[in-house]
Symmetry: none
Subunit: 217 residues, 4 copies
DNA sequence: GATGAATGAGTTTTCATTCAT
DNA sequence: AATGAATGAAAACTCATTCAT
């Protein structure tokens, strides 16, 4: 009896998880297309093939869903970043690998960057700094410290300029890469028309300039 | 009589302009606070001290207002950029001056960057590439070409690396600066807590790295 | 110009007042029929011949409307009670006149009593004691004191029992009359079937017993 | 085997009864607090610690539950009334005892009176006269007739005024007592503030006046 | 030109109810 | 019998928009 119930509960839980994933996927797609604020719970329900009310059994509002999506993006990006940063090689090479990983995600999953733009605009006015920091901490743990550490090692091994401030440089590289990725993804079309280069080229050039800027002359 | 009418018209026109400006200012404030999609015409009307219906006499919808605000931001930034680019000096120095100008606007008018983030998210899904390009062309005219030209001159005068692709580098510098400015402004608080540096420091460092990356070793 | 505007505003105000009255009348009818909680703003809108949204321009919710209706009932009852209490005659005669007035309203406007029952049930759980007291004070001012005063005079003039506690007796008479009026109105049908007397007869008998109870033997 | 089954059925029935009682208790509490129409099946389920759907296994809707609660109140009041009416003594004394019993229930179980107010408001608009009469008949049987009978006896034994109409007086006393009890319970706070006497005092005074009104001078 | 009134369309939200387990 | 999932229906509420003044 108890076993049967446990079994039943497990099946229910699996179902719930699947539904949740489906809803998040539908929401992400629509958020990217129409913006977070421009997407209604009804839209998401239709996209996911359930009724509006069913969505309420999983999430309370758009912002809830947006944070859940952000969490998934953070988690997926964690691996990428981690792998790149834990390679062997000089500090310079490892930073280069990390930026190259960034470029790969830009190419293969531009949706994430579009979503980040939407999330930023939603997040902008609000005072959810704490929530974001908590999530960053929880998922990335000491990741920013990791980049800082690599830069420090790069200075030691002579591959990076000795007059760099490791923490400041780390903050700069991470934010420039993220910001540039987001902006180029959103403005892909107008940028490519206006400047005559693909955004991948431009992002690559940005990485080159950054690497030039930090490596030992 | 005709004079009187002309006079009346002039006063009327001034009134209309003032109202329009007041509405744009109110809208910009609210767009930054609550997002473009999250701001209703009613909000704007209240903020500007008129009734909802009056707003209709000046604008058709939020997106109209947002584009008008963008136009004003473009125009104000045009001067800044122009001044910086038309200085005397080597190519390197002029690019440096341009980035310094950027940093100044980041410090003195962060609202503009917040608004850009909001605009981007609104603009993202839409197909208004043409409208944006047209506005860029109309206001900045050959400005990107201008940056390209300065880089080309910098290569000639020996202050910039000879293996730069002028157009690509121009695109990179402009987009990185803009993107980084936007991102840092939005995430000021969490970034400063997470990385322990002010966003002005980080933006300054980003400029340094870019300049290091393009100048002759 | 200013005159014209004032004129226009006056007309608008008159229109608003008429609409408000119409909505209150519609609401009262429905509240009596279906209960306050059982009546939606939509029902009221339909009954009053406007759209749901228009109702929102006048009231925020049912409870708002209910209080407004109560206020009107208080005001209309104020006159009745006042007239009865300000007659000449002995204390006993004036109390009798007051109760007779009550009976008249029971006969001519049973809706008011039905509404009071509905209002009571809505009011019951809530903590709006202050609001009710404020309204009672504002409209009736010293009316309960008035009844008390009459009883006191009745004792003096010898028409009422000398061992009455004026304040307590006043409270009793007012509440018994109101309560009995409400209950009989609601349960008219079942009471008349069960007891074989009309509710007017029963209410009249109640008044008789009260009067018997207070008058000098 | 059969015995075992019988035993099981008995346990099961006990469980069902307990559940039913728990649901009724939860519902009564909520009905009093938030009104019958303002209470959802979900509220009741939560209060009783079961799921919404479980409630369906016992009742069909709120109104069903409300009638069931009314039935229980009727049954509990039947005893009280019965005991009081079957005392020895003059008609006057027995009526007095009955009213005293009423006062006791007012003091010890004010919830019942609150519920009656809620029920009345729900019942008001509906045409369930028949249902109410049927229930009254079924539970109280000839109770009103009982009061009538006592009054008749009181007239005979000289303790009550000889010019009373027994049926009418019975109806009056029962309804006044019930109505006043309900009203005072609901408006306890505002009445006590407004009149400066406790509702028990006021109810007691009402009984006194009634008794004065019917007894032989 | 500015405004109050009114509305239609659309969104959020709640609830009772059914179904499968 | 009890429950979680899902839903249809309806209510609450918001907003952009039109019209008459």
């Amino acid at each position: 009896m108890t076993e049967k119930q446990t079994e039943a509960k497990k099946i229910y839980q699996q179902h719930r998880d699947r539904q949740r994933m489906a809803l998040l996927a539908a929401a992400k797609k629509l958020f990217i297309e129409k913006g977070i604020q421009g997407t209604t719970l009804g839209d998401i329900a239709v996209e996911a093939g359930v009724t509006r009310v069913t969505v309420y059994q999983y999430f309370t509002n758009q912002s809830d869903i947006a944070w859940a999506i952000l969490e998934r993006i953070f988690e997926s990006s964690k691996e990428v970043r981690h792998n790149a940063l834990q390679l062997d090689g000089t500090g310079y090479e490892r930073i280069a690998a990390c930026l190259a990983g960034f470029l790969q995600s830009l190419i293969h999953d531009p949706g994430n960057f579009c979503f980040l733009a939407q999330f930023d605009s939603m997040y902008a006015g609000k005072q959810d700094v704490a929530r974001l920091l908590e999530m960053t901490q929880r998922i990335f743990g000491g990741a920013p410290a990791l980049v800082t550490e690599i830069i420090r090692k790069g200075i030691e091994d002579g591959s990076l300029r000795s007059n760099l401030n490791p923490a400041l440089t780390a903050a700069t590289i991470v934010n420039v890469a993220l910001a540039t990725g987001v902006r180029l993804t959103i403005h892909r079309k107008s940028v490519e028309i206006e400047y005559g280069h693909t955004i991948e080229q431009i992002f690559g050039e940005a990485c080159q300039l950054l690497l030039q800027g930090i490596r030992t002359p």
